[in-house]
Symmetry: C2
Subunit: 358 residues, 2 copies
């Protein structure tokens, strides 16, 4: 090791799902939306004048912040935007989690929470989900330096009812509570309606899933003005201009078309319900999902074998070789025809694996 290596921050980075490229691939592994963004997004991108790009973008991201505020009926001083919800969440960790007491989050959850805490040297404690993969609200009544969980949870898809979130907030008035709603639009209830009553609540959402714009990197937080001010102070201390011109314009355009948004969500929810039914018929079980994925295990076939067999056929799902969940696959909901192709591969694969075992 060279001398200069000893003070380098060594990290075990989060491993994102594979991003295979190719024509005959079905990507059901990173929870992307199978439908394109609202038509207005392409129009907005085509209308961007390249001349404008010589200038810095608006550091306050006003056009986008205003569109979000209007969409959700909050003040513009209640909205913070970032380069995907990962950027927003990382800024939240940096801004709000500075106690010596541990930050609490579930043991099975978005794996980035642990990565951020490690990287930022934030103490944390992972609270086990119950046997049904649910968060138990009574577990969040211990001393802590902040709380974060996704709702619905990832990669389980399980929704925590709003009454439980309210209970957690009521029992934690002295720390910041972050509800990460990356998947909330697919059928769960948003904690946004609790904002008026809890000044220490932050709701984080993203354009990557329900708005079909993972490729644009747009996330946002909605909270009380005082929290948004603190977040902006940290953001301006890190990188004043995080969102480029195209993100601001495309994000705004997506929000203007609520009809398209609802239509896409209805299609994905319908496909999800059909997918659940078929999976059940094939011997899979899963917690009820309110997201755009199903987290399923088969009664006899090992998840890793299914993952590999699907991949050989060009169908990518997500497999986590981690405690408690190593027998599960996270299957993103694609279009109906993508799910038909998925089942056309999965059925004979399950048959083959069953025969091998017998």
């Amino acid at each position: 090791m060279r001398n200069w290596e000893k003070n380098i921050r060594k990290t075990v980075p989060y491993v994102p799902g594979e991003q295979p490229r190719g024509e005959h691939i079905i990507k059901l592994n990173t929870n992307e939306n199978p439908y394109p963004p609202a038509p207005g997004v392409e129009k907005a991108l085509k209308e961007i004048s390249a001349k404008r790009l010589r200038l810095y973008p608006d550091p306050a991201c006003s056009v986008l912040v205003e569109a979000i505020a209007q969409t959700y009926g909050v003040g513009t001083d209640q909205v913070f935007t970032g380069v995907g919800s990962d950027d927003v969440l990382a800024m939240c960790f940096m801004t709000f989690f500075n106690d010596t007491k541990p930050v609490l989050f579930p043991d099975i959850t978005y794996s980035f929470y642990e990565v951020w805490a490690d990287m930022l040297r934030i103490p944390y404690e992972k609270i086990p989900l119950d046997e049904q993969f649910s968060i138990r609200r009574e577990d969040y009544r211990r001393a802590n330096g902040g709380i974060i969980f996704p709702n619905p949870n990832a990669p389980t898809g399980v929704e925590l009812p709003l009454a439980d979130i309210e209970d957690i907030l009521r029992n934690n008035p002295d720390v910041i509570v972050i509800v990460d709603e990356a998947y909330v639009d697919f059928g769960a209830e948003s904690a946004l309606k609790l904002l008026n009553r809890f000044e220490n609540l932050i709701v984080v959402q993203t354009f990557s899933k329900s708005r079909s714009m993972a490729g644009m990197r747009i996330g946002y937080a909605i909270a009380s003005p005082v929290l948004i001010k603190y977040l902006n102070d940290v953001k301006y201390s890190f990188n004043s201009y995080t969102m480029n011109e195209t993100s601001l314009a495309a994000g705004r355009a997506a929000l203007l078309d609520q009809a398209y948004f609802k239509e896409v969500l209805a299609k994905i929810i319908a496909t999800r319900e059909r997918t659940k039914k078929k999976l059940k018929e094939m011997g899979f079980s899963f917690p009820d999902s309110r997201s755009n994925f199903v987290f399923a295990r088969h009664e006899t076939c090992p998840a890793e074998k299914l993952f590999e067999g699907l991949k050989e056929a060009g169908i990518y799902v997500r497999y986590f070789n981690s405690p408690r969940i190593s027998e599960y696959l996270r299957i993103t909901i694609g279009t109906d025809s993508e799910m038909d192709e998925f089942f056309a591969v999965l059925k004979p694969l399950v048959q083959r694996l069953k025969q091998k075992e017998a």
Copy 2:
């Protein structure tokens, strides 16, 4: 103060230059390029298929990394990209500056260095520039946890000769040395040619100035593969997908047109030299600038008065009310006609201020 406020990170954020909007404004305050990006950039943006945006971008930013590697004759494993050079530099601070010994940078320099160090709780020591606003290489021979400086320096515009950079590297083999070359294309010599000999050197550049793309947020670092690997590990621990689809495509397009790039640089350099001559005739003095701005003081007129007088006329320059530089204005080089308008306002303003004093 609410209880939950006590563990919030409080920062004094960097204050970026004003971003006034309006038709009759001449912006010479944030060192943007007065010319539009290469024509290929607009074309690349128009060709982006909105359908593609539903997918996450390539986390490795390959199309852009390859174009940068090819442009500078380095390996793709020697290139790291980020959301503007601020993002790249902040990641560098986080990755490389983890010693208990102080990081060294000049007392007059890019003010973000101090902001990042404060936010990340990195100890640092500011080394005074000499009377001519030059970095003295012998000042960088003390115990330290890393070194960073811009070349040319900001906001002075002064170039540090390559021999001095080499001397600093030779005397600091055990720490990471970052040369921030945001303005290098406007006539200074790049430290890129030292890369083969110093594995602990990082060169950071940006598309915001010489490539007219501040609005797209693209920066990059070029270094030895081992340093780039460490940077990527930290980046993947923070936000795997920082650069959106449009940045990757537009950035690549800009690099393909080297002829346009050189033409724009030649125009700006010619305008800068004309501007220097006129400023001198009017009683201004300034260190020789190798950047796209001039850092000038007037022999009698107070900088703050000049700043305010120009602003009233719709001409924005940058004024820093800081020790040692409170009598200087940083004037970005615009087009010839913008500089003509600038002088048309500045000349009578200087006259008026002189008369007042007399």
